[in-house]
Structure formats: structure tokens, C-alpha cells
């Protein structure tokens, strides 16, 4: 079966990616959901998921210094380029200054292990987060949580997308809807490579326009087909027009406009998607976006 994947991104944060993802899932009625905003995952708050599975996400390494073996020479501290080797507050009976690794800064490169003359440092594999498989009214959902102060968000994103494809194949779903992270960096690149179609959600502000420009260039870099929709368009109709022209200049399609409406936050409070709320203008706007997207999926 040919599985299509729609990825929703925005460049700028807080433009309504997650709310729109949930609404599109509701309209599709039958899809796999993937929450790739693993830094700050929120899709589970508006899709009423029942959790079926919870697994650790092991990725990368972290150095650990054995304080019994540490001779306090400081070679590791000189070699470490991440500033992750700190002076320990504890000293031994001979008042030797010992060293400790600050986990939040360690990237697990192993240079300290290589340099240590006392063989006091080893690399341990690192628990970087968790991933979950849940069941929503529309189908299965894969989501994740990166550990506090962890790295490897790109790898966790790839893992979430891999699992979403796996379950789509196993359960015969032909559509995956992916809620992407903000920005244009590592986790965004991991979210969009190989997607069938991108939907960029923006807003009619100078920041929205500026960030859209960068995200469209990124999409062009990966040769992906893109549609753009503008949330809260009526806050600044003039800017909305400019952004739509900007999108067309980049050969993106226009998916539609969504009006500024408090139902976006009200739906979150109720834990449901905006398309289940009784705002006719928002419903019509989201319906329009969905029928536009269907022709690319």
C-alpha cells in the first residue's frame, strides 16, 4: 500500500500547528498521527489518546567518572570542548581535587575517556527519553517525550516517524499526519525529509513572514511540495496578502485562511480539536484546507 505522509510545520512557534493537526485528523477520520515536536509535545492534549505502549528511548552516550579512580590530573577538563567536566565539590583524604561530568553538557564523544591516564572514565549508553503508542478515535498515534535537558531530538523524531510508518503498514492506514516542531534546524529536517506533502501554518505578522521565508527555502532545499495556510489572517489582512504572494513566489500552494478565534484555546481546555467546536467560520476554514490538501495526498 502507498502510504502518504502530511507533515505540518511552521517555522515560527505558536502559530497553531498542533490545533490544526488535530482538526485535520478529525476530518480525515482514519489516519496515523505522529507528534514530532518531541521538545514540547502537545498533540496528546487534544486527541484523547488511550496509551497502549511505553518504551524507553536510548540514544547516545554519556561519560561517567569513577571518583575512586580519578587522580585529579584535569586532562579530561582540558580536552572537553563542551565544558562538561566540572570540579567536584568533594575531595579525598589527600585533598585531591576530583572531577565530575555535568550530564546536561556532555555530548558523549569519548575524548575524556581516551585522554584519562587513570582509566577512570567510561561511556554509558544514555536514556534520552520515552516514546509512546496510543489509540485515538481516528487511529494509532506515536508520540514521545525527550528527557529534560537531553539531546538527540533529531534521532527521536526519526524514531517516531519510523514507528508511525511501521504501524501504518501493519494496520493498513494510507495516511500519516505528522505534527512537526518549530524552527528550521535538526528536528525539523528530521521531520520533513521524504514527506509526501508539507503544510506550513503561519500568521500575518512580520515574524511570521520572515520565518515562512526560511522554512520555504528549507522545503525547496529538500525538494518538497508545500502548501501554506494563514492562521489569524484577519489580525492583519494586508500582511496576509503579502504573505500569500510570498508563498506563491516560492511556488507553494495556498491552502486557505483561518480567522482569529478564541475557539483555538477553548478547544484545548476541552481537550478536543477545533473542528469539533461550534465556530462556523473556523470549521469552514479547516474544511477548505482539508479539501485542498486531499488533492496532494
Amino acid at each position: 500500500m502507498n502510504i502518504k505522509e502530511l507533515v505540518i510545520i511552521s517555522g515560527k512557534g505558536g502559530t497553531g500547528k498542533t490545533s490544526l493537526t488535530a482538526a485535520l485528523a478529525k476530518l480525515s477520520g482514519h489516519c496515523v498521527l505522529a507528534d514530532c515536536d518531541v521538545d514540547a509535545a502537545d498533540l496528546h492534549l487534544v486527541t484523547s489518546p488511550q496509551r497502549e505502549k511505553e518504551e524507553p528511548f536510548m540514544a547516545g552516550w554519556e561519560a561517567v567518572i569513577d571518583s575512586q579512580k580519578c587522580v585529579g590530573c584535569g586532562i579530561c577538563q582540558n580536552l572537553c570542548r563542551y565544558g562538561a567536566v566540572l570540579n567536584s565539590t568533594q575531595t579525598d583524604t589527600k585533598s585531591t581535587v576530583k572531577f565530575v561530568i555535568e550530564k546536561a553538557f556532555c555530548e558523549g564523544c569519548g575524548v575524556c575517556v581516551w585522554g584519562c591516564p587513570a582509566e577512570a572514565i567510561e561511556l554509558k549508553s544514555k536514556l534520552s527519553g520515552q516514546w509512546f503508542q496510543s489509540r485515538t478515535p481516528y487511529g494509532p498515534m506515536i508520540h514521545a517525550r525527550l528527557g529534560i535537558a537531553s539531546e538527540n531530538s533529531g534521532k527521536l523524531v526519526s524514531q517516531v516517524r519510523f514507528l508511525a510508518k511501521e504501524i501504518a503498514q501493519a494496520e493498513q492506514y494510507d495516511l500519516i499526519i505528522t505534527d512537526g516542531p518549530p524552527g528550521i534546524g535538526c528536528p525539523v529536517i528530521a521531520s520533513i525529509t521524504g514527506a509526501s506533502h508539507l503544510l506550513v501554518v503561519t500568521e500575518p505578522t512580520l515574524s511570521g513572514a520572515h520565518d515562512l521565508e526560511r522554512v520555504l527555502k528549507l522545503a525547496a532545499h529538500f525538494q518538497l511540495s508545500v502548501s501554506v495556510c494563514i492562521n489569524k489572517w484577519d489580525l492583519n489582512p494586508e500582511q496576509t496578502g503579502l504573505i500569500e504572494n510570498q508563498a506563491l513566489n516560492h511556488k507553494a500552494k495556498l491552502a486557505g485562511r483561518i480567522p482569529y478565534d478564541p475557539v483555538f484555546s477553548e478547544a484545548q481546555v476541552k481537550g478536543i480539536s477545533v473542528s469539533e467546536m461550534d465556530s462556523i467560520p473556523v470549521k469552514e476554514a479547516v474544511d477548505h484546507i482539508w479539501s485542498h490538501l486531499k488533492s496532494y495526498l
Binding site: D42, G108, L146, G185, C186
Partner: protein, 295 residues
Amino acid sequence: MMNYPPLQIAIASGKGGTGKTTLAVNLAFALEVPVRLLDCDVEEPNAHLYFYAGLKESVPVSVQVPEIDFALCQFCGDCSRFCRFNALAVGKKTALVFKELCHNCGGCKLVCPHQAIREVPWVIGKKEIVSQDSVELIQGCLDIGRVQASPLIRIIRKEASKDKLTLIDCPPGTTCPMIAAVEGSDYALLVTEPTPFGLNDLKLAVETLRVLKIPFGIILNRSQGKDSIIHSYCREEGINILMEIPDRRQIAEACSRGELAFCQDEEIRSQLRELLPTIMMQINFSMVSPEGVRP
């Protein structure tokens, strides 16, 4: 005119679009004292959009990546076995460097028995500067298609001023880029909004700052004025809400035009000016409280 010590104050949030940049820029201008503003949201830097002067100076920023000298390389593969990030591949007669995967640890150069590896700069973005009135902005801008947000942030972060107040506009999230931006700050302002997404992501940001032992307070943006889920969370956790900015369409519209919307409102502006004395009191307080001592 009052002057402030060279404190470093990070403006952060778990969730994107809560108003970090709006707060950072408005605060910088509202204070009317010399301020250095670092835009560390290098994937999508936006603070400069509030400066009518336009970006003045632009310097390429690079990281060090390995380069193999094939006159010396014996294709032994020690570098590739050492590299935990799979940034080097060595075959019988060839060796490749995947710069995108390199974490710049310098390990390959250290382990090479033939001194065949040297480090060369590789451009990942730009450092851009503009000044207007009392505010000096230094921003990082990641080149499109690059993944090295955190290294670029660490470079911009070194521009914190030694003699005046520094405000740091951070990227959203709670992982490497956000940590690179908040690290070393004396205090963090967490900007949030009274929605379930806002609360969920605020909790993650609070946990992160506690791990990093950075004192913080909350700025509640788009406040509906009533008792919200953010208020009850902060009460339970004993966290201060330093300021509430009302949810007004008028403010949203002014922001969309790139205006200093908070500075235009006399009441919000005077509250912004009150923030610094409050923060300084809290930092002093945390210096005498054993839980709050910074390492």
C-alpha cells in the same frame, strides 16, 4: 537614569509563539538604559524586525571540522572507529568526512597516529549586529539546511556584555538549543499563556531550569485576568508570576505590524520597568537561600 549591573537574563519558554521575542524587545526598549540583546533563536531570529535601522554588520560564523591530509593518511580507520557520531568513514583507499554529523569534539585529530587530520572552519551561519537608541542587538542566524543550532548559539552567547545588562532571547523547547541559550544566565523569565499547551510546555521548561539551577519567574502573556490553570500551577509550585500581559486583540494587531506594542501601553511599560528591581531582589534572595545557590 538608573543603571543595572551586568546581569544576564534569559527570556525562554517551552512552547513557541508565547511572546518571548515580543517581551525581550519591548523590555530592552522600555528600560531606557544601555542593554545588549542577544537573539539566540538562531533557527528563526526575529528580534531585528523591531529595529528600523536594519542589520548593520554581518560576520560569518564557523565551527571546526576535520579535514584529512591524504599525503599522510594511511587509511587505518582509527578516526572513524573513535567517532561516536559516524562523521568519518574510512575505506581501503579513501576517507570521507560528513561535516553535518560532526560534533566538533576534536577526537579524530587526537587519535590519528599519522597526524593526517587537521581542523578547518566550516561556515554554519552568521552573527549580525544592529543598534538603535540604547539597545544593541547581536543575533545569530543559522544558514538554511544546517543542523548546528547549538554550536552557533554557544558562539552568540559569548557576546554577553561585561558591563551592562544582557537580555537573551532563547529558542523554544527544552533541549540542546534552549539549554545552550539559558546556560550561564543569572535569571530566566519564562513566558507562557493560559492554555493547556502553555501549561504543559511551561512545566517542562520549569523542570529544565531546576536541573540547570537557574532562578526564574513567570510572565503570563495573553492573560484573561481571571484565575487560570497557570495561576493554580504556580501556586502549587510556589513560583512567582512576575507580570501579566492582558489578552487584547489591539495588542496582537500592533505586534503583527512589528510595533513595540507593550511599550505603547503606559501601564504595561511601567510594569516592564518594575521587573528588573524585582528580579534583582529575587537573585539576592536566592544567593542567601541554600537551595538557590548557583554552582
